[in-house]
């Protein structure tokens, strides 16, 4: 079904870009104001626990995707149910990625252009990449991620003159309960979402390296996200909590001698490239998972219709931005839990009970 193989460093980079995806712009710890970096740090810790749980399952079935594992552990019927739930999550994640991407473009740059144009053009590019397989996605990712990191570092440098560490004080301004909730939010978005890569792990050419590259990716992405939060907080101060896209606003503050100003195209570019990778991975994972679930021989014909469904859903995700903000802040941390942790955990327990795996020797 997929002939391509990726190397462990490519997987690391994929993990990083996947985590960057939408969170590079829609900062996950937004609700915590200037403490967002702290929330992200805590969320990273929780995300690690999620990752460990998922890896505990994957360790027993090395070389198989989550859909195949479900089938093995639960048998064809219940397994399909589990897989369907997982695929639904991926699908929804992809569509909400598209949705937020359009929201940003519509609020910041293209105010008049109709949504469907932005969606369809973006989708066609994604489909083209997806059809080329995981190898091409990960190669694209190398180029895009390095350019993103370069732009990130460059803009960090440009913001040095408006960087005020004072703005980050006082630490722990808001109640601990709220902070923990936001931290949990960052654990489910973006860190917990790497479960989507459970569809990609099997294509590693050095099969034993996935754990290392996953953790490496988590740490690097976590550090950069935290750096970003610190930067945004220090540049914008308390007002950062008022903006829908604080990072975007931070870039708008750049002013070097009146020449390098208004570099807000940079965060949009970062967001679009990383979001493109995330959307491609999700579309790829959904199509591949569906094909595996239904025992098809190729996933390629599914990419097109699933992509179209994804953008239809993206248009039907939320009626307005406040619905979405409420969803990400209050609902998503709960909604994501079953897909990210609970279902894999139950599968793991079941596998333990049934004594899986039977043929392969688990590590």
């Amino acid at each position: 079904m997929e002939e391509g193989r990726i190397s462990s460093s490519q997987l690391t980079l994929l993990v990083i870009s996947f985590l960057f995806g939408t969170s590079l712009l829609l900062s996950p710890g937004r609700g915590a104001g200037q403490d967002s970096w702290l929330a992200t740090l805590l969320g990273l810790g929780e995300g690690f626990i999620f990752a460990l749980l998922n890896l505990a399952l994957y360790n027993r079935f090395s070389g198989q995707s989550l859909v195949e594992i479900n089938e093995l552990v639960w048998g064809p019927i219940i397994g399909k149910f589990f897989s369907a739930a997982f695929l639904w999550y991926l699908f929804h994640l992809g569509s909400s990625g598209f949705a937020i991407f359009v929201t940003l473009l519509k609020t910041a740059i293209f105010m008049v252009t109709p949504e469907y144009i932005l969606l369809v053009t973006g989708l066609i590019t994604c489909i083209y990449t997806c059809k080329q397989g995981i190898e091409v996605i990960s190669r694209m990712n190398e180029v895009l991620l390095f350019s993103t990191l370069f732009l990130f570092a460059f803009s960090l440098f440009l913001m040095l003159n408006i960087f005020e560490p004072k703005n980050l004080l006082p630490v722990l301004d808001l109640p601990v309960k709220k902070l923990l909730w936001v931290a949990h939010g960052t654990a489910t978005f973006p860190f917990g979402q790497i479960i989507a890569l459970a569809m990609v792990w099997p294509f590693l050419n050095e099969t034993e390296q996935y754990r290392k590259s996953l953790f490496k990716g988590l740490i690097v992405a976590g550090i950069i996200l935290i750096l970003g939060e610190i930067r945004t907080g220090a540049v914008l101060g308390k007002i950062s909590g008022f903006y829908v896209f604080p990072t975007y606003e931070a870039y708008r503050m750049i002013n070097i001698a009146g020449v390098l100003t208004r570099l807000e195209l940079i965060p949009v570019l970062n967001f679009l490239t990383m979001g493109f990778i995330k959307a491609s991975i999700l579309l790829y994972a959904t199509s591949l998972g569906t094909a595996q679930m239904l025992k098809l021989r190729t996933y390629r014909p599914l990419v097109f219709p699933l992509g179209v469904l994804m953008i239809i859903l993206a248009a039907q995700n939320y009626a307005n931005i406040s619905q979405h903000l409420e969803f990400t802040e209050n609902i998503h941390p709960l909604y994501a839990l079953p897909f990210q942790v609970i279902l894999p955990l139950i599968t793991l327990l079941m596998a333990l009970i049934r004594g899986f795996p039977k043929q392969e020797v688990s590590k």
């Binding site: 929804h92 021989r297 014909p301 239809i312 039907q316 995700n317 939320y318 609902i331």
Partner: protein
């Protein structure tokens, strides 16, 4: 507008179907057709201006409903 949508879907079918038939991937063909049909119906409904429910509020309702069950 509907014309455009149908045109788009037509192109999609035109691009995907021949290869599947040529290779005799009938199982894949069925799945492809079902998914395409769903997409076509949904997008026609949307272009006709039928108000479909939004997803985020639905999930919110479901989650709060489950929450109420426990309390």
């Amino acid at each position: 507008m509907i014309f455009l949508v149908v045109l788009g879907f037509g192109l999609m079918i035109f691009l995907e179907m021949p290869e599947l038939i040529q290779k005799k991937y009938y199982r894949e063909l069925v799945v492809f057709c079902i998914l395409t049909l769903i997409g076509l119906i949904l997008s026609i409904l949307l272009t006709l201006g039928v108000e479909l429910p939004y997803l985020d509020p639905l999930i919110k309702k479901a989650i709060t409903g489950i929450g109420k069950l426990f309390y």
